[in-house]
Amino acid sequence: MSREVRPAPPRYRNEIGKYSIYRGPLCANCGRCVEACRHGVHVRPEGYLHVIRPYDYRCIGPECKHAGCFCIDACPQGALKLSINPVSETMGDRRWTPDLLMSTWAMAETGKPPGKHLESEVGDSGGGFDRLRFRFPDSPPPGLRREDISTRLPLNRRGDSRPGITIDVPWYGGGMSFGSTNIRALLGKARVAKAFHGFTSTGEGGYPERFVPYKDHVITQVATGLFGVREETIRRAPIVEFKYAQGAKPGLGGHLLGDKNTPSVAAMRETVVGVPLFSPFPFHSVYSVEDHKKHLDWIAHVNPRALLSAKVSTPIDVDMVAVGIYYAGGHIVHLDGSYGGTGAAPNVAKKNIAMPIEYAIGRVHRFLVDEGIRDQVTVIASGGVRTPADVAKAIALGADGCVIGTAELVALGCIRCTACESGRGCARGIATTDDELLEKIDVEWCTQRLVNLYTAWRQMLVDTLYRLGLDSVAALRGRTDLLTHLDYENEA
């Protein structure tokens, strides 16, 4: 797979931007706006007399007034009007603000960091990542070059006989089951995983045959439902992930509503079409760390080459759980915080159960350090990681890397309307198994959007490391001294 950045334009006719440009009937098609604008808002195709409808989602707003390229001023007829797009305020939510959505779309389209007119680092949740900031030194150390900064992350720190897998960027794709999400989106995730020598996870919906070409980059997830889990797929996977809980609905297990259990999904899960599927919680064969160790031993014997991961949510004793995973033989402790994504969950669970990931990372990191085993296990954080800034903050708090999920779906055009659980599923064709809606996206486009997103994220992460004066992402782990919190008195 290629990592080459290519334009991946939005798939809808009218992409949503922060600003709206209205071209009124006074327009004389003189083309001054085309000459003035440096952002591709105004376009007159070669050979045409008329300027076509503005690509206003590319507009960066009134700030170009100072750069002398303001189309509104350039128009001799006064035919152009600039305003805030009223749609933008109806999108998203406190965690995924309109700016975060739009900046993610911009990255997925261009492969570059978004413009400064969009807030691309923090949301409006009022806590956690959104209130943490980095303390950047005045200047990076001389001699440090961006191209020398390493973002690689080793996943096996145990020094055992299993492979020493290293991924190129300190994040990988989270588990989304075949059934909860469109197969084309899932394939896009698998293909970008291959391009970046990373991973994506099957979720607990089985292992589609179309994943086989990317098998070296696909994690097999084993959850209580054991939907579609077979020894063959366990043997195929370089990493096997036990899902004990997911952050969006801790203590409640998985739930695929009946409408999304289509024939292909039912076949994969070896179940009956149209029946709602629950993954009961918890594993009823696990009542102690010793039981957990038996689970991991089972996988370790079935696949002697696999790294073992355990995905847990964030109760108050998450630090003890993490240590238990290590002593049971796990290579990766995957912490999934309470504000993560999900295909369907009771709202009461999404809001109220378990702690945000920002708290859990520090607790686990500290406890593992105190136990003297921190360097023998990889800690991966997820559940509310939306931006490369969040990745960097999670690592500074003590994680080694992150798992992302919602951000990938946003790159594919998700607007977080939160209707993914309903009936046919996602109206935008992402989180659906409906054949008609499936046609809204194709694999190539999904792949390119994700390649672009990953590229932009890597560039932004490298820029953060450069400004911090660090030569690798590994050097950022646990560097809480580089962080400040806007709600505390020693804010820098």
Binding site: N14, R94, G253, N347, A349, G362, I415, R416, C417, Y488
Partner: protein, 463 residues
């Protein structure tokens, strides 16, 4: 084997067009009528069914309620003349506590009896004041009792109301003391006295009948008792407000009565029990800053049940810096625990219990059960516009409500709350709501997590 408690619900569609959050606005004069547009491609068929919808009396404004907000229509429109806006009526719903989201969610539950479920992650703030600064706990390995939700075991939501003995005494193998009377409710929720401005038409009949149907209790004032005697079926707790409270008042002969706190309240309680020793008396106290001490005093003096009343937003009365129910309850509960008398008295909390999660959280903070009023009115489609308090006509004609319809809406809401309570208790690994009382080990408080996590990194939090 006993029958598992369940609240059966039946769909009860709204009488009035509900207020939706989003609306699609178009500028028809610019529409090219190209017929290749999103009006046919809306996956929810809202535009596709436009002609049919327009024929009925509800009209096309239904879109505002039904729109799922996927934006496909806006983004596919040929001439880019569609836009989406937030419905201004939605913004005006409720208030800062009963937010528009919460009102809509309550309406949904009252209509369907189902738990609100959605995809994608939580979109709200990181934390908030009051109950929003608590997260309930769970554990991966040993605690959860998810089976309780799916029927292989029970999760009990019943509570006993009344005074309990601190210990049992035996003589010659026989119980030497008489256990005090108790009332059991299958749900840790009773219905509080409904404020005057809502007591119109058949509202109280609907409330009392719904209470009877789900087996819970309802606090009634004298007028309500006279009007609804037939529908009470033993579910009423008469609030005897005429001092001194006496058995001669309407409802005064009921087996469970409530009286307001006062200097002679224990004497009144004794008088009410004199003729009928098995009667349970609840003492209703406004939650003021000194309430913990007062509750302890009453508990020591032999009170059966104490009902702490907070304002409608869950804040204590009579303070320039009022505390939230969360903190007052913890204070009160802890005071009683320290004095070794917590188990002897039942604590009811009311005011600010606006959602199912608040029931669980109030109990974690120390209540035995809660009492509600505003959510019942929301179930009847109230918009909290406050017009009725100013003598204006009610926009949803509450006074004309069919009592049977009202019952189904309230029962549906309680069914949804019950299911959500089970979800939360299942995740916490709690099999009995009695065991959840004061169990702060099953939750995490914002300030504790901040102190332990960020406080050690960043010092003192700004006030």
């Amino acid at each position: 084997m006993p029958v598992k408690y369940a609240i059966h619900h039946t769909p009860a569609k709204p009488r009035f067009r509900p207020i939706g959050k989003l609306g699609i606005v178009d500028w028809r004069e610019d529409c090219s009528s190209c017929h290749n547009c999103v009006k046919r491609s809306c996956v929810y068929r809202l535009y596709r069914d436009e002609a049919d919808t327009l024929r009925d009396e509800v009209g096309y404004l239904d879109y505002i309620y039904q729109c799922k907000g996927c934006l496909s229509c806006v983004q596919n429109c040929t001439k880019n003349i569609l836009t989406r806006v937030v419905n201004p009526e939605y913004r005006r719903l409720g208030d800062g506590y009963y937010t528009p989201d919460l009102v809509l969610s309550t309406w949904f539950q009252a209509e369907t009896g189902k738990i609100p479920v959605s995809g994608s992650g939580y979109g709200g703030p990181f934390s908030g004041p009051g109950f929003d600064s608590m997260w309930t706990d769970m554990s991966e390995i040993v605690r959860p009792t998810r089976d309780g939700i799916h029927g292989r075991e029970y999760i009990s939501t019943s509570v006993d109301i009344g005074r309990k003995l601190s210990h049992l005494a035996f003589a010659d193998g026989q119980l030497k003391v008489d256990p005090p009377p108790l009332v059991e409710t299958p749900l840790p929720v009773i219905f509080d006295r409904i404020p005057q401005h809502w007591r119109r038409g058949a509202v109280m009949t609907a409330v009392t009948t719904a209470a009877a149907e789900i087996g819970t209790l309802v606090v009634l004032c004298e007028a309500d008792i006279r009007e609804n005697e037939a529908s009470l079926r033993g579910q009423a707790i008469p609030l005897l407000t005429t001092p001194p409270a006496s058995a001669e008042q309407p409802g005064g002969s009921a087996p469970f009565v409530m009286i307001p706190d006062g200097p002679d309240v224990m004497a009144e309680q004794a008088a009410l029990k004199r003729d009928h020793p098995a009667r349970i008396v609840a003492i209703r106290i406004p939650a003021v800053p000194t309430v913990a001490g007062r509750v302890a005093e009453l508990a020591r003096d032999g009170a059966d049940v104490i009902h702490l009343v907070f304002d409608s937003h869950g804040m204590e009365h009579g303070s320039s810096q009022p505390r939230h129910l969360r903190d007052v309850l913890r204070d009160t509960h802890t005071t009683l625990v320290r004095q070794g008398i917590r188990d002897e008295v039942t604590l009811i909390a009311s005011g600010g219990i606006a959602a199912a999660e608040h029931v669980a959280k109030a109990i974690i903070c120390g209540a035995d059960l809660v009492a509600i009023d505003v959510p019942l009115m929301l179930a009847l489609e109230c918009r909290l516009c406050g017009e009725c308090q100013h003598g204006q006509p009610c926009p949803i004609a509450l006074e004309e409500i069919d009592p049977l319809y009202g019952v189904s809406r309230i029962v549906n809401l309680m069914a949804a709350w019950h299911s959500q309570l089970l979800e939360m208790m299942g995740a916490m690994g709690i099999r009995e709501v009695r065991r959840l009382r004061g169990e702060t080990g099953r939750c995490m408080f914002f300030e504790d997590l901040e102190r332990d996590t960020f406080g050690r990194l960043f010092g003192k939090r700004k006030s």
